[in-house]
């Protein structure tokens, strides 16, 4: 092929994927590495890339210590109960103690944060959320990243990390291709911060046909955070911890502002409160430590999100659906009505389009809610991602190996969806994690840890051949058939995605099986994924755009395999409402109050699973 090879050499900090995590990394790296070479590689355009591309109407992680609102440990306890105990509290504490400084800078850069006219503090939506006019959140943080970076490579899809040929288990850069020109890009770098996204579209969505793009997490979140890290041999954690969202039906518009600020609430088709009716039975499954409505009422400790999902799912299965969001009261107030609409326009325009198309006026009609298909990610209310080191002054020995947010591969760092065990980071927390990773990456270089990296021409050539193989394969076999998409030698990326979604749905607890799986199903699923991997070697790409989709699919496939392995390993139902292990329907603290950690051997493809201890913060302010 006539594609050029473009080599960018002598990079110090390479940022792969510049959403909120990646922009935070690029920006901060310049301060600690004023003479260092900082480069961004992003498959879209950093002005509108990542999960925050369309904007946000709230910042969901802000302590407000300057207003005396919350301390970092309060946030840790909140995220811990929401995730049924399974979090990395060192990483959460660290993120929470820094996150306010990121938010205060956003305000200085021009991000419109709403203020409470009475107190002068930021306008709270709930205890943790502050309200913003965030349509331009992403362009604003992109400006910051551009100020710091030496070079920004937009439209370069990173497919693989480069590994050091001189020293085992050390990163040496990344490779990818330009999705417009088709050129091959080689980035040789001392450190890499992976800021790539989590995974939408690996479980079959509820929508069909054209609507398949209407997913809760962005369709361009292709699980590349996991595809890149797993392929490099990095250890992963909590990959079983997929998330299911209770959202407005079809449009998946956000409900946070509705519940917290507009004080709307849910009811079944008979107009009854249903949630609490499921709690006694549910308490027997998960134990009083995790579900204690009385204690929650007394202390404002939240009911875990998954358990509220469980009630919704079961109420619908009992024949009392649909579940409605009661908006008719709040929307009588014109001010709240306007907020309700602004909330969608700021971050999920499609929900406004849907209500306009179906004449749903929430002032006179209570809209329907539903539970989504599962998503695999690590920055919203779930914690999939890489097993990373924490900060020296907080982390116990099992959680610390030298550099904050460094994965188990030397010189390879993560931020946002890439870091495991840190749910409830959201946009501001992901940006903060990027900053922490960037500082640590600069320290790693300054400590001389990146000396003597060697990348062989063989590795560069091998990756190149691998990247373009789908196009070669297509060219070879296309003319064996007259026309059309049916070919005995290849499948196209869309066909592959359909297969992945169907098997993840049916064997790994998707929406059509009511989020149910078990050991037998998972074994079959893994077998099918293995065979699918053979077909992925024969995927055909007609053009460079399809090549992008082919590599997104490969990343999604690898992420799915990891999810399947982790789900198989954890023999309990830790998060009813996210998924169920039908053969182990109870939460089992005796055996499974641990974090799951996996490593896939890049040579053999074999997975090693282990349990890592779960450390908790104990001390003042304990609310139970």
């Amino acid at each position: 092929m006539a594609y050029k090879t473009i080599v960018e050499d002598n990079i110090d900090v390479l940022v792969c994927g510049a959403g909120l995590g990646g922009t935070g990394a690029a920006w901060e790296a310049r301060y600690w590495g004023q003479d260092k070479k900082i480069v961004i590689a992003e498959k879209a355009n950093i002005d509108r890339s990542g999960a925050v591309a369309q904007g946000l109407y709230a910042i969901n992680c802000y302590m407000g210590t300057r207003f005396g609102e919350n301390n970092p440990e309060d946030h840790v306890r909140y995220a811990r109960i929401d995730l049924m105990g399974m979090v990395r509290e060192d990483l959460l504490f660290d993120m929470a103690r820094h996150v306010d400084s990121a938010v205060h800078q956003f305000e200085e850069w021009g991000l419109p944060l709403m203020r409470n006219p009475k107190t002068g503090a930021y306008q709270r939506e709930g205890r943790w959320q502050i309200m913003i006019h965030g349509e331009s959140y992403k362009p604003i943080v992109a400006e910051a990243a551009k100020k710091s970076a030496d070079k920004v490579y937009n439209r370069v899809c990173v497919t693989h990390l480069l590994m050091d040929d001189a020293k085992k288990n050390r990163v040496a850069g990344a490779v990818g291709f330009n999705v417009r020109t088709g050129n091959y890009h080689v980035f040789k770098s001392k450190t890499v911060v992976v800021g790539a996204g989590g995974a939408s579209n690996i479980f079959k969505p509820r929508s069909v046909g054209e609507g398949a793009g209407r997913v809760w997490y962005a369709p361009w979140s292709s699980g590349s955070a996991y595809g890149l890290l797993i392929e490099a041999g990095a250890k992963m954690t909590q990959m079983e911890n997929r998330i299911v969202l209770a959202r407005f039906k079809d449009g998946y518009g956000p409900v946070g502002a509705y519940f917290l600020h507009l004080k709307t609430y849910t009811q079944n088709c008979l107009g009854e409160e249903y949630e609490s009716t499921w709690f006694p039975e549910l308490q027997k499954m998960v134990g009083k430590e995790y579900l204690d409505p009385e204690a929650s009422h007394r202390t404002h400790r939240p009911i875990p999100t998954c358990l509220r999902n469980h009630a919704l799912i079961n109420e619908v299965n009992a024949g009392r659906g649909p579940i409605h969001m009661v908006t008719m009261e709040a929307f009588q107030d014109p001010h709240l009505e306007e907020i309700g609409w602004h909330n969608f326009l700021g971050m999920t325009v499609g929900q406004a389009v849907l209500w306009a198309a179906t004449d749903v006026n929430p002032k006179y009609e209570n809209p329907e809610l539903t539970t989504s298909e599962p998503y695999v990610m690590g920055s919203h209310a779930t914690g999939c991602g890489a097993w990373c080191s924490g900060p020296e002054d907080v982390s116990p020995p099992e959680y610390f190996w030298g550099y904050n947010r460094m994965t188990s591969v030397e010189g390879l760092f993560g931020a946002g969806d890439a870091v495991g065990g840190t749910p409830h980071a959201f946009s501001s927390g992901s940006f903060t994690e990027g900053r922490l990773a960037a500082k640590a990456a600069c320290q790693y270089i300054d400590d001389g840890k990146a000396e003597g990296i060697r990348v062989s021409q063989e590795q560069i050539d091998r990756r190149k051949a691998e990247i373009y193989k789908p196009m070669e394969h297509y060219k070879t076999y296309r003319n064996e058939i007259t026309a059309g998409s049916v070919n005995p030698n290849y499948i196209n990326p869309r066909q592959g995605l359909d297969r992945l979604q169907k098997l993840m749905d049916e064997y790994c607890g998707g929406v059509t099986v009511n989020y149910m799986t078990n050991e037998k199903l998972l074994h079959i699923g893994l077998k099918k994924l293995k065979i699918m991997e053979e077909d992925l070697e024969k995927i055909g790409a007609e053009n460079v755009h399809e090549l992008l989709r082919a590599w997104e699919l490969k990343h999604r496939h690898r992420a799915s395999e990891s999810v399947m392995q982790h789900t198989l390993f954890r023999k309990e139902t830790r998060w009813p409402g996210y998924y169920y292990r039908g053969d182990a329907m109870k939460l089992d603290d005796e055996n499974w109050h641990v974090l799951t950690v996996s490593r896939r051997d890049p040579e053999t493809g074999e997975y090693t699973m282990e349990k890592a201890p779960c450390y908790h913060l104990v001390g003042e302010g304990e609310d139970e």
């Binding site: 600690w32 970092p72 105990g85 660290d94 400006e143 793009g213 700021g346 325009v349 006026n361 907080v394």
Partner: protein, 160 residues
């Protein structure tokens, strides 16, 4: 919801191609105008709609659940720092205009150039602090929270 492009308004400038996060706005080789090549990978994020200088791009709700006849239009004005929306219902009963700020400052002017900031000293490098910290955490003289300062420790097992 999936975007589409009006033939008479598009001049093929490619702003939408440049901005689309999903890489689905492409220029048609015959008409030399933009179009959505993959509607089922469209997130209705409106990035292209906002970027189009000719307002040539619009959105028609997903065919699998949205009936025809609605409209959600937008004008994003970077100079004025505002975004204006108009939502029209299918049955014509609701027609809303909504305005929101998108920034409070001139673009990029208030973001510091960190290459020119005073270089951090060794003490700062060895500390847990980030740029502008601890000042920016609480906007006062308070320090960074640590386990010690907050009377906490990390302990293995279940303690809550």
């Amino acid at each position: 919801m999936p975007t589409f492009v009006y033939m008479t308004r598009c001049d093929g400038c490619g702003h939408c191609v440049d901005i689309c996060p999903s890489d689905i706005m492409h220029i048609d080789k015959t008409t030399r105008r933009a179009y959505n090549i993959e509607p089922n990978m469209c997130w209705e994020c409106y990035s292209c709609v906002k970027a189009c200088p000719h307002h040539a791009i619009d959105v028609r709700g997903y065919a699998d659940f949205a009936p025809l006849g609605h409209s959600v239009r937008v004008i994003r004005d970077e100079e004025k720092g505002v975004i204006a929306w108009r939502i029209k219902f299918r049955n014509g009963e609701k027609d809303m205009n909504l305005l929101a700020p998108i920034t409070t400052k001139p673009w990029g002017k208030h973001i510091p150039q960190l290459a020119d900031a005073p270089a951090p000293d060794k003490k700062q490098r060895d500390s847990q602090l980030l740029f502008n910290e601890p000042k920016y955490i609480r906007m006062d003289e308070g320090g960074l929270h640590t386990l010690e300062s907050n009377g906490l420790k990390m302990k293995e097992g279940v303690y809550y």
